[in-house]
């Protein structure tokens, strides 16, 4: 049996091609697969067996069933913007790309919810409903291009999650293809507490290891009546960090409270969306408050006062929407902007109690000096979600390994400060060993036992999220060797 346009004898490829309707919906030549050998985490690279592009839930279900019946490892991929390697086919997987399932299925303004397919782009949802005065709150910096399906898998956060919560707080229902091909629906249409286990909570953030999401019902919010944004420049990181704590202690819950340090500022100012930040400042805070108009000005005044008490060099509110947008574009493109000052970067994602900010940031500075690699910090200061970006050049032998070590040391510092190893980017392959910084063996086993229920053959996205019990040291050595070889 052959399929038109398919020039391979591999029977699995031919059969998978039949499910998705022919040659235009499958890639299998080595050269075509190269672009899929990593996602936005570029430290590990591995070719998939094939990439298939289903159009609907039925096709996804048939693909999954085929893989399960023939014991082929497989995984789901969206835009491939993940930062922890969750979509990297380390087991030569069949990649089920969901980017062609990108419809906005329905919008129900009355009940404030929308239904989207997994390949629908995050920002497009807000753009589709903004003229009616609504928006979708979770706003990861990659929102211009990341898919909501991927957001569900990673339980993505974003700048405005300080006030509004991360993705899981905005998911009302999911349609999921289980690893045996069964299609189930979880959650209710906005019913706050469904009887039975909270599968919605379990699946959101499961990093594509329990099932493949094929339809998502999300909560949408009414635009806040008013919004104001403040930019504050500090001469010391310490003062900036203290100001963060003071703002929250003063009883203000900003919509966003972001911080960038000197190296990060150098990056964004050298890149495509500079705003002219002074070169010699140690850090800036980007603070946004929103809500009903009454009271916004008082909040802004209070923030200005707090900043002044902490020796701010300059602090001011955005004079108009255009300026506000420029500030945000500068912040949100921050990671990519590192390309302007470094060929490669590795971003970490630790979370710490706000009060520990100065201590952990100075530890990160030490790590930078010990490793000889520059580390930029761009992060959600308000919820203590750090993003140290370790800058390196993979072309220099040994630097990749050094960067991985420095990144891991940053996470150790977060864990030591009573925090954790990821706030929003997920564990993937990148941080699975670091899971041990925060979980005991028993706690990891309790979680892998759940995975076995859903994914008994471990064909779906294997080797991600959890370390292998008892083999920690050994595996670490292997990873090191892999990188070195």
């Amino acid at each position: 049996m052959t399929v038109k346009g398919i020039d391979t004898k591999d029977k699995h490829i031919i059969n998978l091609a039949k499910i998705v309707g022919g040659a235009r919906s499958i890639l299998y030549h080595k050269e075509d697969l190269l672009a899929y050998d990593c996602d936005a985490f570029t430290v590990h690279k591995h070719l998939p067996r094939t990439v298939v592009f289903p159009k609907n839930t039925q096709e996804v279900s048939q693909l999954v069933k085929y893989c399960s019946d023939h014991q082929l490892p497989f995984l789901a991929r969206g835009a491939g913007t993940g930062l922890s390697g969750g979509a990297i086919p380390i087991n030569n997987e069949v990649i089920i790309s969901l980017v062609r399932m990108k419809k906005l299925v329905s919008v129900d303004l009355e009940n404030r919810r929308a239904v989207v397919e997994p390949g629908f782009i995050n920002l497009k949802l807000t753009n589709s409903i903004s003229d009616k005065g609504y928006y979708y709150a979770p706003d990861p910096s990659s929102q211009y291009c990341c898919t909501i399906g991927g957001n569900v898998a990673e339980n993505a956060g974003g700048a405005h999650c300080l006030k509004y919560g991360v993705t899981t707080n905005h998911i009302l229902g999911l349609e999921v293809v289980l690893p045996n091909g069964d299609i189930i629906e979880v959650g209710g249409d906005g019913i706050p507490d469904m009887p039975g286990y909270d599968l919605l909570g379990l699946l959101t953030g499961s990093e594509g290891t329990l099932g493949i999401v094929t339809k998502i019902t999300v909560r949408i919010l009414k635009n806040p009546e008013s919004k104001k944004t403040v930019l504050a420049y500090f001469d010391s990181v310490e003062d900036g960090s203290q100001a963060v704590s003071d703002i929250i202690s003063a009883g203000i819950v900003p919509a966003a409270l972001e911080m960038m340090d000197k190296v990060a500022i150098e990056g964004v100012e050298a890149a495509a969306f500079p705003v002219g930040h002074p070169k010699d400042i140690a850090a800036f805070l980007l603070i946004e408050v929103d809500g009903i108009s009454a009271g916004i000005d008082e909040q802004i005044n209070l923030i200005l006062e707090v900043c002044k008490k902490r020796n701010v060099r300059e602090v001011r509110a955005a004079k108009d929407e255009a300026e506000r947008e420029r500030w945000w574009a500068n912040r949100k493109t921050g990671f990519g902007a590192m390309g302007a000052i470094s060929p490669d970067y590795l971003v970490q994602d630790g979370v710490i109690p706000r009060s520990k900010l100065p201590e952990v940031l100075s530890r990160i500075e030490e790590i930078s000096q010990e490793s000889g690699l520059r580390i930029a910090n761009i992060f959600h200061a308000g919820d203590g979600n750090l993003h140290p970006l370790v800058l390196f050049d993979a072309r220099i032998p040994g630097e990749t390994e050094k960067a991985i070590e420095a990144g891991s040391a940053c996470l150790q510092a977060c864990a030591d400060a009573g925090g954790t190893i990821t706030g929003e980017h997920g564990v993937g392959i990148e941080k699975k060993e670091e899971m041990r910084f925060v979980f005991k063996d028993e706690e990891i086993i309790a979680q892998t036992n759940i995975r076995e229920v859903f994914n008994p053959d471990n064909l779906l996205n294997a080797g991600k999220l959890f370390p292998t019990p008892g083999r920690c040291a050994e595996v670490k050595q292997e990873m090191k060797e892999a990188v070195l070889s």
Partner: protein, 451 residues
């Protein structure tokens, strides 16, 4: 246990060894350009071919990755490499989206140069390519002959016969569509002003500028060239049209023929040696002229400095008018107009607001917003001829964004004008396609008439 940690051992090395490169020929893609890319994916949604296919080798990030992979010896220069590299529209939307300013357009052009050296065109594609790119565009007299033929074709009634008898249908569908919307060919300005070294400003001379008339532009759209000269002289500019100027070479460079590109570049650099300012009204040409330095990065580097000095003098007509000031017309045009951003103006040269401001300065013009105005129309040089299927799909989504109730679509690039005219006809719309500078000229003319 099915987790295969040992698989990690098979991960290919992260380090690059230059000696592994599969670029064997000279003038190869610039390593520093892809070193800027950190694979973040911010470019994905900006790319029309990724939007249509959903496949990453057809995304900017994917293409940059493949170009890098060839240099790292992980991929050969072969058909699988050629397809994504040549399917790129070269619309540069990704350079606008990219946080790190990765020069994707430059990399694509350099990679095409490698591909064309390694895998030369064959058969009819080679003949057509050679005929137009080397045989016609660089030669003014042949272009004029071609123009004369087109004019004869249109005026003699031959066009009507060919269309009526359906003889036209022997051509591929997309060429049939383009033939149907071909503008009426008039006398090129280079012929018209052949005897004048300088076309004097009306009134006092404030500035002196040189004008690049373009090759196809001057044959197919000489009326726009005339409008450009009118608008310039009206606003106090002495305009010269250097005789030795030639085709800018954009189509050649896009097609991977960098040698001809360099040849043309050198001729233009010399032709405009004495000019202070080089004015262009075709976005594609303007963008190419501003990037001449890139052509001499590796080959004939002694030309690089001269090329960069030349590029610094090049300016789009709308930006030039906007920056040096122009008289606001007094006559009313009373039209509802929407504006399409030509890729090589918006993404290539960063000129977005200037043409819109000019339109808004014309009394009676009502501007209607076009969603995604800076999305490619699918023209992309000769892309609509070489990749008709993708170009057609891109055009379809462009036309969906054209507001219903406008009378004209204004833009700053001849390629877009032809493509959008095809779109208007194909989708049963009735907008007139105009160049921004034409509208300004018409307003001035109406003002003169009313005096």
């Amino acid at each position: 246990m099915t987790v295969k940690e040992s698989e990690l051992k098979k991960v290919p090395p992260c380090t690059t060894q230059r000696s592994l490169s599969n670029y064997l020929l000279r003038d190869h893609p610039d390593e520093n350009k892809w070193a800027d890319c950190v694979h973040c994916g911010m470019c994905l949604e900006s790319c029309p071919t990724y939007e249509l296919t959903g496949q990453e080798q057809h995304s900017p990030r994917g293409r940059v990755y493949l170009i890098q992979s060839v240099a790292e010896g992980r991929m050969e220069v072969n058909k699988q490499f050629m397809d994504p590299v040549f399917a790129c529209l070269d619309c540069r939307a990704c350079t606008t989206a990219c946080p790190a300013d990765v020069d994707v357009g430059g990399l694509i052009e350099e990679a095409r140069g490698q591909i064309r050296q390694a895998i030369p065109l064959t058969g009819w594609k080679r003949s057509v390519n050679k005929f137009f790119l080397q045989g016609v565009f660089p030669h003014q007299n042949r272009l004029n002959m071609f123009g004369n033929f087109l004019r004869f074709y249109q005026k003699s009634g031959m066009q009507k016969v060919v269309q009526k008898t359906k003889l036209i249908n022997v051509m591929p569908q997309h060429l049939v569509e383009m033939e149907a919307v071909m503008p009426e060919v008039q006398q090129p300005v280079r012929k018209k002003f052949n005897n004048e070294t300088v076309i004097k400003a009306k009134g006092e001379t404030k500035n002196e500028v040189a004008f690049l008339t373009g090759c196809v532009m001057d044959v197919m759209f000489s009326d726009i060239n005339e409008s450009t000269i009118n608008v310039l002289t009206r606003n106090g500019n002495d305009v010269s049209i250097p005789k030795n100027q030639t085709c800018c070479g954009a189509l050649h460079v896009h097609a991977g023929d960098r040698d001809t590109g360099r040849k043309l570049a050198k001729q233009n650099i010399e032709a405009f040696q004495d000019a202070e300012k080089v004015i262009v009204n075709a976005a594609g040409c303007g963008c190419m002229l501003q990037e001449y330095g890139e052509l001499f990065r590796e080959v004939e580097p002694e030309w690089r400095e001269k090329a960069e000095a030349f590029s610094a003098k090049v300016e789009d007509i709308s930006k030039y008018l906007h920056d040096t000031g122009y008289e606001k017309p007094k006559a009313e045009l009373n039209k509802r107009i929407t504006y399409h951003d030509a890729c090589h103006l918006a993404h290539g040269q960063g000129v977005r607001q200037e043409p819109r401001d000019i339109l808004l300065d014309i009394p009676g013009v009502e501007m209607v917003h076009m969603p995604n105005a800076d999305r490619c129309c699918g023209s992309a040089g000769i892309y609509n001829i070489t990749n008709p299927e993708m170009a057609g799909a891109v055009l379809e989504s462009k036309m969906e964004n054209v507001p219903d109730d406008v009378e004209m679509i204004s833009m700053g690039n001849p390629g877009c004008m032809l493509q959008m005219a095809v779109g208007v006809q194909k989708y049963g719309r009735n907008q007139k396609i105009v160049h921004t500078v034409q509208l300004l000229d018409w307003a001035y003319q109406k003002e003169e008439g009313e005096k």
